[in-house]
Symmetry: C2
Subunit: 448 residues, 2 copies
């Protein structure tokens, strides 16, 4: 044999994951799972249902919007297979037929169109899962990252807005992240601000520049607009001047959107959430048709989440008149923020009792005692080999297991077991007969 | 615009997922999540830790075994991007650089090699997640499916075997699937049975034929061996004759494996699990080096899970002398079996209280009441629009929400609310002042 990487060849295969991808150590993985559970519980408490959609989609679905949005350019495409691949290579045709989803919204739109007849109306749904973007990896930006979406499909403003937004903000509040602020705007308002002498494409360009306000500052945005369009459009100037202003500045422009923004703001503020109108908010996706939002934090550039109304997205799948609103929490940024603030809780999944193995002959009794404790709902770990006792205790110590149950030959003969409390090093002898007494005593020891 | 699939063009994009992939309705998704939680809890109770590994790997990692195993041929490959893709197309070189994992074991081996210094020794780990295989889709065989793996890396037989196997069997037992049986064999025993006049490749071929015993029957296997090798090897005949036999038949052949198989069987049987030696068990993966197993059920062809010892797998990542054992529950087959037996529990995630919206003006009070109930840990759903009351009640009915809290203008004026118990249609009026009394009453109603 001796091929590269074969066991016989002994050449090494790199141990790192692909660039931009991550492996999580047990403590990180447990904390992430616990966080997902907590977000799920909050979404459920607001009446949202979990669904699960394949992570691979037909490329035609992912590219279905036909608009060539930024995210579409970042699709990880999956190579065709077999004869189809051969034909594609020979003809110079499309080499891929599938792609990894780049968000959770487009697959949801397909799902809702598919199951139209089977879903509640309106359909309140949440998804927590990974998405993939072939972005240039950099600090804090990964090619695989989690999103936590809530959506209401089949509901007009503003009920869906208030329901989704309060579920999302509730997550931040539940972690004591009270500095979080909701920024709101409306695509219809942005559309109404278009200068008459600009066409739609030029106005879209102007909004792309405006969207960079955080990074470029006002001067930078104005310079880019001069370079691109030869001027700063009046609509953009009005937005930039009103940045700190109130909704009333824009009241005459598009009454429907200023009215719904006003109602949403009032309801969110009455519920105790920090919320403001931000006319400079644009958001990247081209499928938004109304309300758009971002969740921001004073200590972080960019956003902790965002979303908007997408009343026409289902049309690409043949759905008509299906208004929808949804938003997402950026899971990775939330993890980062909670870590920085020391608020990322450790999950309680570590074993409570540890059995070292002192002698191969005692494997049977140790195994049976461990099983009996597990039936009492305790988490119990057994060392698999009769290794050096020092190593076995180090293992228990490293894993922070609070109780070590030591069964030696002498103890077993006397139907006794030694239980060591690792916190203070104290030891006690417990009788193994009758067994129920031992189990109850261990249960008592392990209860908080 | 008017491109295919664009919103303006109005052409439809198909609503089905790619062939071999699935979307799950809310009830299915909730049942799957609840099942994952339950398996996680059992794995944790046995001292296993969760980890999380990227689902994409470098192709070189997935192909690292160099052996061209069956699963390697089924990798979904991810197309290179940008200049690299252009160069690959021009030069006729490899078009892909990444691939979706086809199992959870190979990524785990890379992970353990990478974090060697940071992981407990031995490392007890579980993973529950999707894997992908570009297999021909057929009934019950999907291209994306979940596996539930437990592994112990850094432990010699037989402790790791007993620990993993009891965790896996515990899952089946906890669902009352007592017909489940553990089948055990050892690759070293199979190797020792090789006829002297056959080389390794021929013997491997003979075992591949033996592996089809379930499908082909004894006659079919013998016919295939005649066709492939011109004879039925003596070793295979010995296995086929011993099928119903005991371990002692093989005792002289390879003492180490028959001894460890004997100990594992004794311990598993003493713990009340159904377990037997099965000399015809082969398993597909080429990285197994010792104990191999499958979990089988009398009503199902094929297996519900399986695995084995892979003491040399870490060597391809530069690890040396890292004995390891692990196994997997086939999640999809478990779901199927539980469904058939009516044992797939419904998760308790549906809302407990539903607020219809009778009037836009009451959105504020309804929203506040819902929030207050959520603070009491109740799951509360609010209808987002002031739609026809009939439709709103149908929604509550379809979702099987047990209590409907009706706040009309009249009720609100009198600080009252009507609560309807959907099970018997009975209604009661509750006072909204003082609010804590209302909350406590609702809490009491919703408690089981």
């Amino acid at each position: 044999m001796g091929k590269p990487g074969s066991i016989d060849g002994m050449s090494k295969v790199p141990v790192a994951p692909p660039s931009g991808f991550r492996d999580f150590l047990p403590s990180e993985a447990a904390a992430r799972l616990a966080l997902i559970d907590r977000i799920s519980a909050i979404y459920q408490s607001h009446g949202f249902h979990a669904i699960s959609i394949s992570v691979l989609e037909n490329l035609s679905t992912l590219q279905g919007k036909g608009g060539g949005s930024d995210n579409e350019k970042l699709i990880f495409k999956v190579l065709k297979r077999g004869d189809e691949l051969t034909r594609a290579r020979e003809s110079g045709g499309e080499l891929a037929d599938l792609g990894l989803r780049f968000d959770l919204t487009l697959p949801l739109a397909r799902y809702c169109a598919r199951f139209r007849e089977n879903l509640p109306k309106p359909f309140k749904v949440y998804q927590i899962g990974p998405v993939w973007r072939a972005d240039r990896p950099q600090k804090g930006r990964y090619r695989e990252f989690f999103q936590c979406d809530v959506d209401i499909v089949g509901a007009k403003e503003i009920g869906a807005e208030v329901d989704c937004l309060s579920a999302i903000l509730e997550v931040f509040v539940s972690f004591g992240l009270s500095d979080v602020e909701l920024h709101l705007n409306d695509r219809r308002l942005l559309a109404a601000l278009k200068d008459e002498d600009l066409n739609e494409a030029q106005w879209a360009e102007a909004l792309v520049s405006l969207d960079k306000l955080d990074r470029l500052g006002r001067d930078g945005v104005e310079a880019e607009l001069q370079a691109r369009l030869g001027k700063v459009p009046l609509g953009i100037a009005q937005i930039l001047n009103a940045e700190a202003g109130t909704l009333t500045t824009f009241a005459g422009l598009h009454a429907e959107s200023t009215s719904s923004l006003g109602q949403i703001l009032a309801l969110m503020q009455a519920a105790g959430f920090r919320a403001r109108f931000n006319p400079t908010l644009v958001r990247g996706q081209d499928y938004y048709t109304g309300t758009i939002f971002e969740v921001r934090h004073s200590e972080l550039a960019g956003s902790l989440g965002g979303g908007g109304r997408y009343n026409r997205l289902l049309e690409i799948f043949g759905g008509s008149d299906v208004p929808a609103f949804g938003g997402s929490i950026g899971f990775e940024r939330l993890v980062l923020l909670l870590q920085e603030q020391g608020k990322l809780a450790q999950a309680e999944t570590a074993p409570q009792v540890f059995f070292p193995l002192l002698d191969e002959d005692l494997r049977g009794p140790v195994f049976r005692l461990a099983s009996a404790l597990r039936e009492k709902q305790l988490r119990v770990d057994v060392y698999p080999d009769a290794a050096k006792l020092k190593n076995q205790f180090k293992y228990a110590d490293d894993r922070k297991i609070p109780f070590v149950a030591i069964l030696g030959s002498e103890e077993w003969k006397n139907k006794q077991i030694k239980v060591k409390t690792m916190a203070d090093g104290s030891e006690r002898s417990l009788a193994l007969e009758p067994l129920p007494d031992f189990l109850v005593e261990m249960e008592r020891l392990c209860s908080p």
